[in-house]
């Protein structure tokens, strides 16, 4: 049944051997040394501080949606850094390898990366940025904010939530491991069939890519079930559909997309793995396989995935703009309809990713028009944000800057997106760096919104604001980097530069490539200030403490509980009366956050099972990648056994007595007294 492999295989070690460690590659050795030093530093620091117990109890085994959200975001930021380093390496290679006379270093013909290494880097860059950076950051934000916005104690399934996190984390770990053991896919983050088939990708790279995505997408699917159920079933009394905050609405639409589209990706990758492991013929060109079927299935997921990440970004902008405009969002109902419409139409557009296939005019026309239809609700959103600012009192705090930056990116991305939706134009720029610039434009929109979201909700989670001054520097350097990298990239697209080139045949492109590299330097400065912002903010946290309503003009439910949010979210579940409940209460003077009496709270108990399941899935992925069948079988059985054991656990929750809640709330109250406006949720700054 199993396929014939190039290279050795043994029953005990599978394809694994010492020669799979790329110790001859100086770049990898450098990265390895860096990872070892960093890892040792972290382990040392935790040991020195004696925090292992704390880490285990409070974080690794937690089922608290806020902590899980924070870990998701942390994971996303770490992977964002990794993806950024990949981008830096690619830009440098293209700059160094322009023209037939470009010098070669480190065994490369031109530049410093041989083709396979370069190909792995861009494949890893795409996979990481989309699946392991942007997605976790947004899932993290949804995790933190949605239960608070609907007035729930936690997610509908706190245990499942932790499982989702650890699956995603282990997928990231697999991708990182591929740096030091074996290689990563060279066939792009999309995985072009039949390039991903065994004859054309004989190494383990594609397997790493495949199983990492597979594991993380199980995590994302579980997360989407959880968020939908939370929104449908866990709303506080009075939180009707017409009062749901827009971010929650976009979370709902986005998770409907995830729920329905990730299975398609799973199937596409499973069929590919059958081809690679069992010699089936789904996507092979021979014996009846259809390679475009892979592309088709991949993009059935792939395009909804684009909206999966963009909708929460729209939601974040829709939260930030009203807060800093001191006004309700313009056209709430329209906004809801637009979000749902985007989710719906996202299911009819996937073919625009391969318009050049020769599928025929009728098919092209259908998908072209469907693609452009998405522009309608998106355009409506832009107008609604604009009219939210009409007759407003706009303050340009850091989150607002990010939101406006995202708006600007949406306008340019919309322009180029509409170009790509027209086949006649698409034929000329498909697979060129123009497309790369377009979707980076859109992903930067998402990143801008996410940065805005992190700045916006940071005080809610940690109880103090991020530093304004460095925050602005981060924003402006990021903006500058974006312009300097992507304007030349759009231009290069019109010069006929294809994507994924490790050797650039045309020296005339060099000046623009150098300009892009300069843009990367600006991003490096943004990164520096980002780290500085976090450092400064933590250092000066006492001075930046905030009350319940950190921005003074916030509108939704999450600003009605303490900052930082206690682990039980709300001492007593709030009753909702209006669309923007907190704005409503502020207007009517109900800003006292003290309930008349406290009640018992049921909470889920922490558990190590999700971490164990995560670790076992890592082993499962590892076994599959290296074709170590005993490990694969053992970890699979282990996962099922862990699930059964967990199902037999009857002690999964506990009760906090009303008296204890009251005691904790009173303590928090005393602490909050020191903060301007603290406990009562009074605005902490005077509004002109």
């Amino acid at each position: 049944m199993l396929v014939h492999l190039q290279g050795p295989w043994s029953p005990l070690w599978g394809r694994l051997s010492l020669s799979e460690v790329p110790y001859h590659n100086m770049i990898v050795v450098g990265a390895f040394a860096f990872a070892i030093v960093l890892g040792a530093a972290i382990v040392g620091a935790v040991t020195y501080a004696g925090k292992w117990g704390y880490l285990w109890r409070e974080w690794l085994t937690t089922v608290d949606h806020k902590k899980i959200g924070v870990m998701y975001i942390l994971l996303g930021l770490v992977m964002l850094f990794r993806g950024f380093v990949d981008a830096l390496m690619m830009r440098t290679q293209q700059m160094m390898a322009a023209g037939p006379h470009a010098a070669g270093f480190l065994g490369a013909l031109h530049g410093y990366l041989p083709p396979s290494h370069f190909d792995q880097i861009y494949s890893a860059h795409g996979t990481i940025m989309i699946i392991l950076a942007v997605t976790p950051i947004l899932v993290g934000l949804m995790n933190i904010v949605v239960p608070l916005q609907v007035g729930a104690r936690d997610m509908a399934y706190p245990y499942l939530n932790a499982v989702g996190l650890w699956l995603t984390a282990m997928a990231a770990a697999l991708v990182m491991l591929s740096l030091f053991l074996g290689d990563f896919s060279h066939a792009g983050w999309v995985g072009l069939a039949p390039l991903t088939e065994l004859p054309y990708s004989p190494n383990v790279g594609v397997d790493y890519w495949m199983w990492a995505i597979q594991i993380s997408s199980v995590g994302t699917t579980l997360g989407s079930i959880n968020l939908i159920a939370t929104i449908v079933k866990m709303r506080a009394p009075g939180m009707t559909w017409g009062r749901l905050p827009i971010f929650t609405w976009t979370s709902l639409s986005t998770n409907i997309i995830a729920l329905s589209s990730f299975p398609v990706l799973a199937v596409a990758l499973f069929l590919l793995s059958f081809d690679r492991y069992l010699g089936t013929h789904f996507f092979t060109p021979g014996l009846g396989g259809d390679l475009m079927l892979y592309t088709n299935l991949f993009w059935i997921w792939g395009h909804p995935e684009v909206y999966f990440v963009v909708l929460p970004a729209f939601g974040i902008i829709s939260e930030i703009v009203p807060t800093f405009s001191e006004k309700p969002l313009f056209g709430y109902i329209t906004m809801v309809i637009a979000s749902m419409a985007i989710a719906g139409v996202s299911w009819s557009v996937w073919l625009h990713h391969f318009f050049t296939m020769g599928e025929g005019p009728a098919v092209s026309l259908y998908f072209s028009v469907a693609t452009m239809l998405v522009g309608i609700p998106t355009g409506v959103k832009v107008f609604n944000w604009a009219f939210t600012m009409y007759r407003a009192r706009i303050r340009y705090d850091v989150p607002m800057l990010w939101a406006i930056g995202a708006l600007a990116l949406l306008l340019t991305g919309g322009l180029t997106g509409m170009m790509l939706a027209i086949p006649a134009i698409n034929y000329t720029v498909h697979n060129s760096v123009f497309v790369v610039a377009h979707f980076h434009n859109m992903f930067l929109l998402i990143a801008f919104a996410a940065m805005g979201g992190i700045n916006y909700w940071w005080p809610k989670v940690f109880g103090y604001k991020l530093d304004e001054k460095t925050g602005r520097l981060v924003f402006w350097y990021w903006v500058a980097g974006t312009i300097v990298v992507f304007v030349p990239m759009y231009t290069l697209g019109f010069m006929g530069m294809t994507r994924r080139l490790d050797y650039v045949a045309h020296p005339s492109w060099l000046p623009l490539l150098q300009l892009e590299e300069a843009g990367i330097a600006l991003y490096c400065l943004a990164l520096y200030y980002q780290l500085k912002q976090i450092y400064v903010s933590i250092r000066d946290r006492a001075a930046n403490r905030v009350g319940a309503d950190a921005w003074g003009t916030s509108r939704s439910l999450e600003w009605m509980t303490l900052s930082p949010v206690p682990f039980y979210n709300f001492a007593v579940t709030p009753v909702v009366h209006a669309r923007d409940e907190w704005a409503w209460r502020r207007e009517h003077g109900y800003t006292n956050l003290r309930p008349s009496r406290y009640v018992d709270i049921h909470m889920p108990r922490n558990t190590a099972v999700p971490l164990v399941i995560g670790a076992l899935s890592f082993a499962l992925g590892f076994g599959l990648i290296w074709r170590i069948w005993w490990l694969t079988a053992l970890s699979l059985v282990g996962i099922v056994v862990a699930m059964i054991i967990r199902a037999g656990d009857t002690d999964t929750g506990y009760v906090i007595a009303a008296a204890d809640v009251e005691r904790m709330e009173k303590q928090a109250d005393l602490r909050a007294q020191t903060v301007p406006g603290g406990r009562t949720g009074q605005p902490i700054r005077a509004v002109p």
Binding site: P202, V380, T428, H430, P688
Partner: protein
Amino acid sequence: MVRNNLWRAARALAAASVLLLSGCVRKGGLVLLDPKGPIAAAELHFTILDVVIMLGIIVPTAILVIWFMWHYRATNRKARYDGRWDHSYGIEVVVWGIPILVVAVLSYFSYKGIFEVDPYNPRILDKPHVTAATARAGAPASRPVDVNVITTDWQWLFVYPKLHIASVDKLVVPVNTPVRFRLTSATVDNAFMIPQLVGQIEIMPGMRTKQALLASHLGTYRGFSAEMSGPGFAWMQFHADVVSAAHFRKWAAMVAKSPDHMTDGAFDAFAQPTFNLHEKSRYFSQVQPGLFRYVIHQVHMGKVFTTPLGAGELMTAHMTRVQ
């Protein structure tokens, strides 16, 4: 006339604005704005049309947003504040209406474009101004030049089936003559593109796609694969020479004298993974009839040209081993 002038002005404006962005770029670098054939020109036409229409909505929106941002800043005490205003039927109708209108217009142009540059049957080639130019050149559309394109890892083989010749990484076509391509791959996906002449079409193993082009200016143009196909992908470049009819006949006669023949067996040797650095051309004569079908058939039967382990890391070593 007015429409034409407006059109030309818009086109110049668009070209100038993009050129401004790349002031340091050598002249002629923006190949997509410099079409040398009716198909590429049509594609540019739709690009400019789309950009102009989209800018017509994006620029006013941007100005509106910027004005709101400036006027309604919190520190501007003169601006009117209405903290409850969140709805207006009139505005909502407009904000839905404008995008719907724009999308409707663009959909119409998309529909037109799809047929005008359809790779299988580009209607632009039937337009009077194009057929007239073709007729002047003495090459009626009914007698186009046929080229069969076969990609391997990582080379281009251009087969002229009627002439029984083939060339590697060099495409030569006569000016003002329709050229009909049939394309397939012996290994993985590629995409055929000559930016100044014609947009992309996918080349898929086991399948046959079509493309058509007509070059209206003499010259050498750059062609390449636009779809990642493995470690040798960046070197999958070729020259497309557009020459006079007489020159084309001379070239074909020259190639027909090549001592290298292209049989089915020779193809299997040729198709072994090869990095063809810097577009070195080779010629084959006496190409076996039905080579194109042979390649497709072999792929259907499960033939693969396996990429050796480590081909990408040890590129130079791999090249010396093959050559």
